[in-house]
């Protein structure tokens, strides 16, 4: 009896006891090497394609900017965070000369990018030389989840050169200060 059972059970036991190692290694070095080689072949082509797409994108971006936003009329508005301690940004709205120009709702990843020192280009427009009124509204939440809202205005003297305005948000005293900086 035991002898008959022994043949099958030994095979099962051997099979079962080796399972963890077998599963981990999956016993496929040759197939794996082939797969790696094949993937590297495709990967090289993918990298070459990415390079070419980046090249054309760079050229196209330059042409696009020249075509749509000539330097003489270009106004770009950026958003940055001076400090994000106890503050979470929800939305920024921008109006130029009384007309809404941009409104952005922030996903967590975008807010995190600002928090870590990134600068978001909120809006690019063409404006003639002269005085222009920028009105900004910022909404967010404080540490306890309470709503924070801040508004500020700035007069931009637009000349013949492109204008770059940075909206620097700085949580302060339970609210947010909005600093305008012209570059």
């Amino acid at each position: 009896m035991d002898c008959r059972l022994g043949l099958a059970s030994a095979a099962l036991r051997c099979l079962a006891s080796g399972l963890v190692v077998c599963c981990a290694l999956a016993g496929r070095p040759a197939a794996a090497q082939d797969a790696v080689s094949e993937l590297q072949g495709i990967d090289d082509q993918v990298q070459a394609l990415k390079q070419e797409v980046l090249d054309i994108e760079r050229e196209l971006s330059l042409l696009e900017e020249k075509l749509l936003f000539p330097s003489g009329t270009q106004v770009a508005v950026f958003v940055s965070l001076a400090d994000a301690e106890g503050f979470e940004l929800d939305a920024v709205e921008l109006a130029i000369d009384g007309a809404q120009a941009a409104a952005h709702l922030y996903a967590y990843r975008e807010f995190d990018a600002l928090r870590r020192g990134g600068v978001q280009r909120l809006h690019v427009a063409n404006l003639p030389a002269g005085r222009h009124r920028l009105a900004v509204a910022v909404r967010g939440r404080d540490r306890s989840g309470g709503a924070i809202e801040a508004r500020a205005e700035h007069v931009l003297e637009k000349g013949d050169k492109p204008a770059f305005v940075e909206l620097r948000l700085r949580p302060a005293g339970g609210g947010v200060d909005i600093d305008f900086r012209e570059w």
Partner: protein, 676 residues
């Protein structure tokens, strides 16, 4: 009740598996983020931090191209970040899996004689990580040899950790252990300590290995640390079990959590630890728990064979046969599911699933994998994703899909731009000649006014230098002086003598004197007023000049708004179309690779299950036979016993009392056994 491992745990398992191949730091900090001097550089960082590395590279490429094209690049605000930008762009490329380009960018920094030592060392480490991520451990080690003193302690720790990983990949365990021993205690994270334990174990230094892995096995905290603790306990238990030390293995295997990502393997090995000690009854406990779980799990599938094996060892053949029968059914169902999955993959549904939420960042995609609905094409996706090659192929496939969509969008943009250019041409072309004519006329007038102004200014300067009051005389005064001069000339020509002529000459002289006196006395006042008038004229001329310049710029801008675009846009249309075709072809190639790899893995699992089913069927028949045989033997033994009792009774009873030929039917034996 069936127990399926929660998707969240499988994700932890996936992340744990991917840990060792994640070359760059998980949470990047780019060099230029502090004290930002250039908004567009900040924008590139913004894209990078939100994991849109394509946009980050483009932004930085554009910035660097514009910077290098400047006549005086040192006056550009990017100059403050130029070094950081060239370093960071390599980092972005690395994260965008452009290893060739990233390697070249980083090499430039490494070779640079001007790069600060700290920046250079960071570039070296990055280069080494790049090689390691590409599976080239040997070159990773060679790159690490290029680090130069002095080394920042944190960077040195990171370098030793990477060196250890590369050494382990090359099988140089003593070097790996030595490298890990160099890492400062606080920097030696749990994963590195786990690697150290495994390396020590493989080197045969069991006592040291047990110390290290035992400590890891007691980790507490977040799910990843707990999973690592399970992994350490499992490795240790497995190794001790292999060494024939089942009793020592048991405490470690008992520590593996019942609901962690390694729970099933833990239960399986816990059973074997008991079985190897000859305690099959004890083995029944983990294996019974295991076989109630998700039959798609490989450990559960093997548990389905192990549990009846234990019953058989205990001599409970009926129960064993019953469980082998259940195992056969479970394997058949799983084989059917695998067939369904393979067919779904061959039908192209895997490639569709991989593009779900294609715009999401990679880390988001990994997180969302756990939320995918249970469908044949995605059922084994998380497990497949545990392999580095599969992950790399999926990342490529998703990159290609994004590139393809980007190319399509940009092709549409170019069409819109061409339309815009043509509309501008149609608007400006009839108007610009008239604008040009009027501009030329106004320009000529302005030039003539400027000439006259210059003449006046010269005269004024001359009058001031020579103190010539007449130069500042008004038209009327000059007329009077000219008339007086003519009168004197007429008087002298007539040779007038006598008192009347003298009186006339005197009057002329007096009148000239009045005018001259006024010119002399008012000279300074007049000069001042003349200069003020000139300044006013200059202001007017300046305004006119500004207007002329604005008109000139507007005219040039009007021309530039439609001139010079046709050729580049036409070329781009062709290039974009060609690139889209290549992207599509590569997508198909990459998808086929993925499908082939997935089908290969699933087919291996299927073959294994078919093999298990054969074995289970064989064992089922064997157990059934043994159960029958045992039953028959029991019945026979009972019969013999009864006969013996009857014989004794016959011997003891008086003749004629014996019951004639009483026999019981077989099968009335011990019913404790489960029947098949």
């Amino acid at each position: 009740m069936r127990f399926a491992m929660p998707a969240r745990l499988r994700l932890v398992l996936l992340l744990l598996g991917a840990w060792s191949v994640a070359a760059p730091a998980v949470d990047p900090v780019y060099t230029g983020a502090a004290s930002l001097q250039d908004l567009y550089f900040g924008e590139a960082l913004y894209h990078a931090y939100r994991e849109d590395h394509f946009a980050a590279i483009v932004r930085l490429d554009v910035e660097l191209a514009q910077h290098h094209a400047l006549d005086e690049p040192e006056r550009d605000s990017l100059v403050a970040h130029r070094g950081a930008a060239e370093f960071d762009v390599g980092d972005f490329e690395l994260r965008y899996r452009m290893y060739h380009r990233a390697g070249r960018a980083i090499e430039r920094v490494v070779e640079s004689e001007t790069a600060p030592p700290e920046v250079r060392n960071r570039a070296v480490l990055r280069l080494a990580r790049l090689y390691y991520a590409r599976g080239d451990a040997r070159n990773a080690l060679l790159a690490l040899d290029r680090l130069r003193e002095p080394l920042d302690p944190a960077l040195a720790d990171a370098a030793w950790l990477l060196r250890a990983q590369a050494d382990m990949q090359l099988g140089d365990l003593p070097a790996a252990v030595a490298a890990l021993r160099k890492v400062r205690g606080e920097a030696l994270g749990p994963y590195a300590r786990y690697n150290l334990g495994v390396a020590l174990m493989r080197l045969g230094r069991s006592r040291d290995a047990v110390d290290v892995l035992d400590a890891i096995g007691r980790l507490d905290g977040d799910p990843v640390r707990l999973a690592l603790a399970d992994k350490a306990n499992l490795s240790l238990g497995n190794r001790l079990l292999e060494a024939g030390l089942a009793a020592q293995a048991r405490p470690f295997l008992d520590r593996v959590r019942l609901h962690g990502p390694f729970a099933n393997k833990g239960l399986l090995l816990a059973g074997w630890a008991a079985a190897n000690s000859g305690d099959f009854e004890r083995a029944l406990v983990p294996w019974t728990e295991l076989t109630g779980r998700d039959p798609a799990d490989i450990a559960v599938q093997e548990g389905l064979l192990a549990l009846p094996y234990a019953y058989a060892q205990l001599g409970v053949f009926g129960r064993a046969a019953l469980l082998y029968g259940e195992a056969v059914n479970a394997f058949s169902r799983e084989i059917d599911r695998l067939d369904g999955s393979i067919q779904a993959i061959l039908d192209g549904r895997l490639r569709q699933a991989l593009l779900a939420d294609a715009a999401a960042a990679e880390s988001d995609f990994l997180r969302r994998l756990r939320d995918l609905p249970d469908a044949p094409e995605t059922r084994y996706l998380l497990e497949l994703m545990a392999g580095h090659v599969f992950q790399a192929a999926v990342a490529n496939y998703r990159d290609l899909a994004r590139l393809y969509r980007h190319l399509e969008r940009r092709a549409a943009d170019v069409v819109a731009f061409q339309d815009l250019v043509e509309r501008r041409r149609a608007f400006y072309t009839p108007r610009l000649p008239e604008v040009e004519r009027r501009y030329q006329a106004q320009d000529a007038l302005l030039r003539s006014v400027r000439l006259r102004r210059d003449t006046l200014a010269r005269r004024l300067r001359h009058a001031q230098q020579m103190r010539d009051p007449r130069a500042l005389a008004s038209g009327g005064e000059l007329k009077i002086l000219r008339r007086l001069a003519r009168l004197r000339w007429q008087l002298e020509r007539r040779g007038g003598r006598g008192p009347a002529a003298e009186r006339l000459a005197e009057r002329i002289a007096r009148l000239e004197g009045v005018v001259t006196w006024r010119l002399d006395t008012e000279f300074d006042t007049r000069l001042d007023r003349a200069y003020r008038d000139l300044a006013e004229l200059d202001a007017l001329l300046q305004r006119a000049e500004d207007t002329r310049r604005r008109v000139e710029r507007a005219k040039r801008a009007a021309y530039q708004s439609f001139e010079g675009y046709a050729l580049p846009f036409n070329r781009m249309t062709g290039r974009l179309a060609a690139l889209a075709v290549r992207a599509e072809a590569l997508m198909a190639q990459q998808a086929q690779f993925l499908e082939k790899a997935a089908v290969r893995v699933l087919d291996q699992r299927r073959k294994k299950l078919v093999d298990y089913r054969v074995k289970a069927r064989f064992a089922l028949a064997e157990s059934y036979d043994l159960a029958i045989q045992k039953q028959a033997e029991a019945a026979e033994a009972e019969l013999r016993e009864r006969q013996r009792v009857q014989e004794i009774q016959v011997d003891e009873a008086p003749a004629g009392d014996a019951a004639p030929g009483r026999t019981d039917a077989p099968g009335g034996g011990d019913a404790r056994e489960g029947r098949p």
